[in-house]
Amino acid sequence: MRNCLTARNRPSSFFFLKMPLLVITLLCLLALGLAAQTQEAVKPRPPVTQEDLAMTDLPELPGAPAVCLYYERIDDREKRERSVFKRIKILTPGGRDYGNLEIPYYAFLDEVKDIKVKVYSPDGSSREVKPEILEKIASKLGESEYRIKTLAIPDISPGQIIDYEYKIKPREDNPFIYILGDLIMIRINILLINLTMPDLYSSLGVSWDLQDSIYIRKARFEFVPDRFIGVAKKDKYNLAWVANKLREVKPAIDDQGLKLELTDIPPFEKEEFMPPESNEKISFKVYYVDPSIKNHQAYWEKSTDAWKKNYEEFMNGGKALNKEIQTLVGSETDLETKLKRIYERVQSIKNLDFVPEMSEKERKKIKVNDNVTDVLKRNYGYKNQIARTFAALARAAGYEVYLVRVVSRDEKFFNPNLPLFNGQFDSEMVMIKMGNRFRAFDPGLPDCPYGVVYWPKAGTAGVTFEDEQLKFFTTPSLSADDSTCRRLAQLRLDGRGNLTGTIRVEYAGQEALSRKFDNREKDEIKIKEILEEELLKKLPEGSQVNLKNLQGLKERSAALTAEFEATVAGVVHQSGGQLLLPVYALTNSRQYPFRSAFRKYPIYFNYPSTEIDEIKIELPEGYEVEALPEARSRDSERAGFSLKAQLSESGQLLIERKVAIKKNLFPVSDYIHLKEFFDFVQTRDEQQIILGKKN
């Protein structure tokens, strides 16, 4: 089990800065203006240096079209404005596009002011530029309007430096709504009411996504919090900051707010098989946190307490649960059978999170479920309500049940320093102690088989209460054997260099579940197309496949079988009187990952998995095997491979191949090993079987 504390490897802190109380009176609003006038002087920006002017390339990223020499962003909630300054050095003709500026803003809330542009030539001379500012509508619906101020700076060429700045302020004629981070504030008369509070004890103040498409040499950020942030209670707020992928970051915090200085932020670049982007992108976030929260532990305790209170109330089904249990299990005594019946019952509940085709009329008929009794009575519910219903029924049937809240790892990894409970722990699953071991269930996922958990909830951070004690842990992980793709091929040489015959693909575990779940909204014609495309992508170019039979698509099982007629194109070659064919013919060179010599991010697969191939090839009339490649295998904690070709008693070629990826997350340091592994696999796959004519 992964202890959440071990995951605290991100430099981060939880500074608390006592912020004055939001006073929900007109006086506060008046004070906003006063406060704005008493701000300290803005820190001067660095001058353009000779080094900046002389720069022709970026040593850290040779060939880069441009570099941001200095980026300054100040989010001043007291003044209710955001000011941005950027200094861009144009390095190549392609970099001139940075001379086109686009400033997006919510036109019904804000206005853009004080746009200034200055251009420096390589000789040090400079000119103020006042380009025509055009305004385009990004999107408009009724009064809601998102616009973009657009300007093209004239006469831009490589070598020049562009300074530009602007401010975004609330519109003076529309003070009724404004946005503070993810708080949307509406002013009704003199009251400020917070409409959005995603987490009970925290709310985003500001989020700085620091990685752009351009290298940033130096950056300075400042956050001046809302002195009068409004919620309908008289209390004070603390500030917490969270840095992602920033080493030794130390923001300066004082009564004025938070200041952060950074250097050398590279642009973000995607890599194949990388963890979720949110995990790898450099970012810095500041949260308002409830004043009662003093540290991370307190945050998680309070948040999980609130969650527990919520789910316990929801799971309280009283006698109705017992009645339901009686109906479901009757006199059945076998624990497994009983639980299966309960599971089937909750899986039959309409899952409202996965019915995109529901009309507005249907949606309006949906009532709010207050507890599991409502869910059972109405036979519909959202995914977490269904999970809770399963937990409640199982508990009522006498099982030792734990409702577990998990971080779905398909879009993010758990960050214990990030004060977001609901934002991180977004799904619920159920663990039940049976005998002396725990079994995990995923009833909130439509058609998830009994005893199987979908991969985003496996091997991820989970939280539950055990004997009233809060417990963070890692949910049970998947092994390579839990997800298999087995191909059984029966092929023969067609005399034109191809192998033809049938390929039966058996998907099991996550391999089956993910295909079923990802394609749940598609019809059979589309799924046929997808599965054919998937196999074709794997086979040599020019191959052809035709799905003849598909089994298990509609069944609630972690199994799916597809049978194809196939022509594997151009794999048999003649050399003199001999025929050569690769020992593993069901592949092409694009199938092997990790070609680059360099790697920046960890390697991430959705789940560990195993590929198994059993290929039988009929020899052509008049030919016999002259040479077979040696059987090869290798195994490590990361991956395993075996490949064996032999001649059967009936004279067929038998090829058995197995590739297993044993973990789903590998550190960057493992890249070289994984690359070497796949290189090895490709080399072995391409070994040749030689057939010669019989005497």
Partner: protein, 691 residues
Amino acid sequence: MRGCLYPTNCNNFFLGFLGRSQASAQGWTHIIVALIFFVFALLGTLPQPVEAGSKPPRWLVEISEKPLPTLAPETEAVYLLHEQKLVYSSTGYLIRYGRQAVKILRKEGIEPLKFLVRANTFNTRVRKMNAWVINPDDSKQSYDLKSAISTSLAPDTLYWDVKTLFLYLPEVTRGSLIGYEWEEEVKPISLEDIFIFQHRFPVLQAIYQAEYPKDCQPWLDWINWPESQVVSGARSLTVQLTDIPALKDEPLKPPDEAIAGRLLVRFRTEKTPKYGRFFSDWKDMGLWYEQLSQERRQPDEKVRVKASELVSGLTDLRAQIEKLAAFVQQEVRYVSIQIGIGGYQPHPAPEILANRYGDCKDKATLLAALLSYLNVESYYLIVNIERQVVKDNSPVSLFWFNHAILAIKLPDDKLYDGAEAVVPVPGLGRLLIFDPTMPHSPPGRLPFYLQKNNGLLVAGEQSRLLTFPGSTPERLELVRRGQFVLSADGTLKGSVSETLSGFQAEVARLRLRDVPERNRRKDLENFLARSLGSFNLENYDYLNLDQPEREVELRYSFRAGSYLRRSGDVLSFRPNILALIDDYEILKQKGERKYPLMLPGVGTSRDELEIVLPDGYSLETLPEPMNWSSSFADYHCRLELKGGVLFLERQLRIKEDLLPPSRFQEALEIFRMLSVEERRRLLLKKLNQPE
């Protein structure tokens, strides 16, 4: 490069002329929609259907009650009715009405039909957009213009004042019937209308109607469709079509705009129309455009001074032209700002020079003004960068184009003698076709998307539709010379030099000139991985990426650890070490071919490789030379063993870049053969050791 026959996304950065047609707009709609929805999701203000809105009209209800004919099971949706009507009103305006009923048959049909699109432009005002959805559960919703989302975003355009309107239908599901009516008022530039009746979904019934004044005569042109019956009234015409098949996806087919059936209707008036004009032929349109743009290309003193400064010290006219061309191509950045008529009319040359930016027509305009300093005449050429959209027999229409370039009149017969971009035009002499927007094609070279394309030459009375030349198949566009050493331990060491010109060089520059060095390395690694499996790229160097007048040169060396494969005592290897074709997309063809096969160009690629065989081994068999020849392409490969060195020479010559469907098989066969040929292996046997 490296045998990449098909450019990827290298032709969408200079869109910007004359707005966009309905069909091309569909391509980027989803991007804009995604952005819009992101914004509105943030605001929590996604448009909602009007529950108590208007009831579905009678025509839609009647259609909903009719039984559906049997359709192919893969049909995702079907237009039950696709109707368009044009009224040429006495006010001089064109009023367009549209009516559609479309039934969604599969879930895959939902996404493309969830959004209904029209656009307000400088001369078009959308007066009405109404939509109704009748769902299988008989629930109904209605939408109108008030619930439309508008946007001015467009790809590759910094600013334009077109407001695209989207009706978003969130309630659509499988089995839904969508009814749609729209109405718009156009103050025309050209008295014409287009009815696109062939789409990605089949159309059961298509109706086009036009009403026009007494003194007006309609001219009809059927495009990509056989001439069909027209019912004419005194002041009206009606066309009815039934069972129009859907456009089909096929690899390497021409763009949809080049194959979709459509009807072009132009109106000739006896009196001068209040708005717009009738273009009787291409010359007519050329004269109009000349009038619209002539003033814009007049140089002022600053333009003349700049031209003088640029050509200072150069006496040779070709050198002078190239200097001015390079200035516009390389130093004037591409920025598209289109306001009002600005979708058609360029900015004034002095303004473009001062800003050092502009779109395609601006760049052509500035170059024209600069050339006038040399007393060199030039003419606009209005084109579509997608080949085959404008064919040499296309009827005159303003709807075809999306790009502007320049034809430079050469003063004598010697200048640019033999250059591929020179076209002799009766009455005008030799014209050098040049694209000032394409930074990777110097004067004399015709960019690949213009080869064998057609464009409107704007040259006063000499205006016409001009067909451009193309490269010759003999042109060597890719030459790779490599020295390789194979060792008995399986290692392959290689050093390669590649020379790229023409299309290959253009594509390489588009992909690699403006990216950081490490992206170039990744690009090369990805290519080598296809050929070598595991390898270590030891060094590499790209030369001349930023000098379009020169060939691109690429040199690299690598070491591949396990290139030789062992089976018993025998070793095998692939002698075609470097892949010649980047993508065998053509092999993805399923079933019978319906559309022509279109390749980006013709040309020749050649490999000359020397492979030193491992000590103590010799070839088991030396294959016979391979020669494949058809009118579409030639391929030959010859292996020769001298001492312990294997010499491989192979050459692929693509001779035709557009094949009718009936000849598709001919191309397919050669690409199949190449795909197999690249994987062919040779056996090495151990030489007997002397006792």
